[in-house]
């Protein structure tokens, strides 16, 4: 069972949770009050860098018949698309830069270079995922409707193909995201009208058509004789971007230690309890400055989930007091190297493609998710520390 009683799982009293909420509010206030010219300059520089890379990449691809130019152009375009998706699109649409009151860097005006229209993203991601983070049955990001990510989701023979769907999702991630808000599952259950979905699908279709035309018709045609090599370059840039965003995003909630919750947990949930759910349900990975930038600072997923609308360039500094709070309240602060976090997420996907009888752990104490009846947060911290002491990738594979 996923967590149904968050306070019991975390061994915190009501007063503790309240106090934790106040401390997190204070961290939020500090950042809100100190946002200023330096932050504004940061996002403008990021935009300049992204547009510079995109323009330079496109220009270089005019010579893409010449292999080194293909490599350089593809690399620049790929990097531009990664920055555009992660540090710019994702974060601007979250409203992280709305405080600047700049009509051009604003959640209500930003459109991004991916198949998913930003209006839909605001619903499926900003609202459904961020409000109901990791609540099985509510948060459609748990498995994205195609993957079984917790033993609370019943196994069906279709799950045997999970490793394959997973690979396809990684390669075509932007389309997965675009279809996400259509919520096909809800139509099947009769929770959503077909007409509304059709109108939504039209919007997605138009966006996808524009994106495809740009990358696979207009720019290749412009480069004339380099038509084919420009197509392969653009396809590669899109693929690289898809794989990277898939990787970063799967590290956010699917490595071991990022908990899942049941709908019972939502009943009467207070703001501090919401904070607590975000902390227990998210996972970071360690990253240097460059990797953090390319990940849209989502290596600080825990901080992002606590404060989704605060500027991304502040997550690194916020991670210090957040981590200290975790230690103080004996809560797990799930983090690790990117490759380790990614492997753990993959391991869960592969394992859970099998029916439960082939699995050793129960739904209460599985490494990918625990419950207050199985392991508690405190035990988990102890176990993680022990594993870290044992060290090495062997412990990950063995767990």
């Amino acid at each position: 069972m996923a967590i149904t009683d968050i306070k019991e799982f975390a061994h915190l009293t009501e007063a503790d949770v309240e106090a934790l909420g106040r401390e997190l509010d204070a961290i939020r206030r500090d950042v809100e009050e100190s946002r200023g010219a330096k932050d504004a300059a940061y996002i403008r520089k990021a935009i300049q860098l992204q547009r510079g890379l995109a323009a330079a990449g496109r220009v270089t691809l005019f010579a893409s018949a010449f292999p080194p130019a293909w490599v350089a152009g593809t690399a620049m375009l790929g990097a531009a698309k990664i920055i555009e998706n992660m540090e710019l699109g994702h974060n601007v649409i979250h409203g992280q830069w709305d405080w600047m009151n700049d009509p051009e860097i604003h959640s209500s005006a930003w459109e991004w270079d991916t198949a998913c229209p930003s209006e839909h993203w605001k619903h499926s991601h900003n609202y459904v995922h961020h409000k109901y983070t990791n609540v099985v049955g509510k948060d459609k990001d748990v498995g994205y409707g195609i993957l079984r990510m917790t033993r609370d989701q019943p196994w069906s023979p279709a799950n045997l193909g999970q490793p394959v769907y997973n690979a396809a999702l990684a390669a075509f991630f932007q389309y997965g995201v675009a279809l996400h808000d259509l919520d096909v599952e809800a139509i099947r259950k009769g929770e959503k009208s077909l007409a509304g979905t059709a109108a939504q699908a039209k919007v997605v279709g138009r966006k996808i058509a524009r994106q495809l035309t740009k990358d696979y018709v207009v720019f290749p045609l412009l480069t004339g004789p380099a038509f084919l090599s420009t197509i392969t370059a653009n396809a590669t840039a899109n693929l690289v971007r898809n794989l990277w965003s898939y990787g970063v995003i799967f590290c956010g909630h699917f490595p071991d230690g990022a908990e899942k919750f049941t709908e019972a947990e939502l009943e009467g949930e207070t703001p501090p309890e919401w904070y607590l759910r975000q902390m227990l349900g998210s996972a970071n990975f360690t990253a240097g400055l460059v990797m953090a930038f390319l990940a849209g600072n989502l290596c600080y997923q825990i901080e992002h989930h606590l404060f989704p609308d605060l500027p991304s360039n502040r997550y690194a500094e916020m991670s210090v007091p957040v981590r200290a709070l975790c230690e103080k309240y004996e809560l797990p602060y799930t983090t690790g190297p990117l490759w380790a976090q990614l492997l753990k997420a993959q391991r869960t996907i592969w394992k859970l493609s099998l029916p439960d009888r082939f699995l050793r752990a129960s739904a209460d104490n599985a490494p990918e998710t625990g419950s207050e009846r199985g392991t508690s947060a405190r035990q988990r911290i102890a176990e993680t520390a022990a594993r870290r002491a044992r060290g090495g990738w062997r412990s990950i594979v063995a767990a």
Partner: protein, 340 residues
């Protein structure tokens, strides 16, 4: 081709004025007018139309501590395209931190955002035969544009200007006004220095301008003066001869708890207290409000604030006209109007 971006998104990185989507301008000169007022001469970028009319105002957006602030100021320049620039004259208000910044802190070369000229405080064409300009303080600014236009076109009719300022050194454009009076025998000016002469009561208007009731009047100044003028002209039965321009007061720091919330597009209003979110207030009167998380994290409910002030219930921060606000965590701080 550059979807989802526009060519604009690349062009204005090369030159901030190269934006076809948005009006921008570059401050070319800052001229000090008095101790606490300055004229900003701005060269607008692509798309700015110079066929505005004297007396209109322009919206100007400037960045301060990373945040864009919008205010409106009367254009003081005469609308002439060949100059290639416009001018606004800003007086630093004691409580207006932005006007202070504009007067003291704006360096030539700064790029500002512009909103197209608007307003109906303008002279008809041809201008009436007899005009009274009744102004005080920075209320002279739209009138200055009118006088410059009349002067430039050589069509100065019978004009009386009654202007109030605390002291002689506070009179904006004092030298230029004196020169205009010398140049045009049909232009008369009365200056009321309120620190020594006292505030000009509307009952005494006959002093500086005996035939005020026979003139078409344009008045701009503090609310008390304009209210007085409105009463006087109404009492005389000629309210149609009076044209008023009210500068919206900078409300930062003002605003109460709760107020009347107006939904401009659906034409509905509701009175809400300071703890009721605008989202709840709108839904209670049947407005189709966009919403998502209802806790301030998803930005689905962001709408422009058209008038008034609202308060962020989480942080207490107040938002003013021109801001886009989250209705699910904002409450009215005084009367306000939403674009819904």
């Amino acid at each position: 081709m550059t979807t989802p971006l526009l060519p604009d998104d690349y062009l204005h990185l090369l030159n901030p004025l190269w934006s076809a989507r948005e009006l921008r301008g570059r401050v070319v000169k800052v001229v000090r007018e008095t101790e606490n007022a300055a004229t900003l001469v701005i060269k607008p970028g692509w798309g700015f139309s110079f066929d505005y009319r004297a007396g209109q105002y322009v919206g100007i957006g400037t960045q301060l501590d990373g945040r864009w602030h919008w205010r409106s100021y009367s254009l003081t320049s005469a609308p002439e395209a060949e100059q290639g620039h416009i001018a606004i004259t800003v007086k630093a208000m004691p409580e207006g931190f932005l006007s202070g910044h504009l007067v003291n802190g704006l360096a030539p070369g700064t790029v500002v955002r512009l909103a197209a000229p608007r307003g109906d405080f303008t002279l008809p064409e041809p201008p009436p035969a007899a005009i009274l300009f009744l102004t005080a303080g920075s209320g002279i600014t739209p009138v200055m544009a009118m006088l410059r236009t009349l002067d430039r076109r050589g069509t100065m009719p019978d004009v009386t200007l009654v202007h109030s300022a605390p002291t002689a050194s506070d009179v904006l454009f004092a030298e230029e006004l004196a020169a205009l009076v010398r140049k045009h025998p049909t232009l008369r000016m009365h200056t009321q220095l309120t620190e020594t002469d006292g505030i000009l009561s509307m009952d005494e208007l006959g002093g500086p301008c005996a035939d005020w009731a026979e003139r078409e009047t344009w008045a701009c100044g503090p609310p008390a003066m304009l209210d007085g003028a409105e009463r006087l002209w109404k009492a005389r039965g000629i309210p149609g001869a009076l044209h008023l321009e009210r500068f919206s007061v900078e409300l930062a720091g003002a605003g109460g708890e709760g107020g009347e919330v107006t939904f401009a597009r659906t034409e509905r209003t509701v009175t809400a207290d300071g703890a009721t979110t605008l989202l709840d207030a709108g839904e209670s009167v049947g407005v189709q409000m966009p919403f998502g998380c209802r806790m301030g994290i998803c930005q689905s409910c962001v709408v422009p604030l058209l008038a008034g002030n609202v308060r962020d219930l989480r942080s207490g921060v107040q938002h003013a006209v021109g801001d886009r606000i989250q209705t699910c965590i904002s409450a009215a701080a005084g009367d306000c109007t939403l674009d819904l």
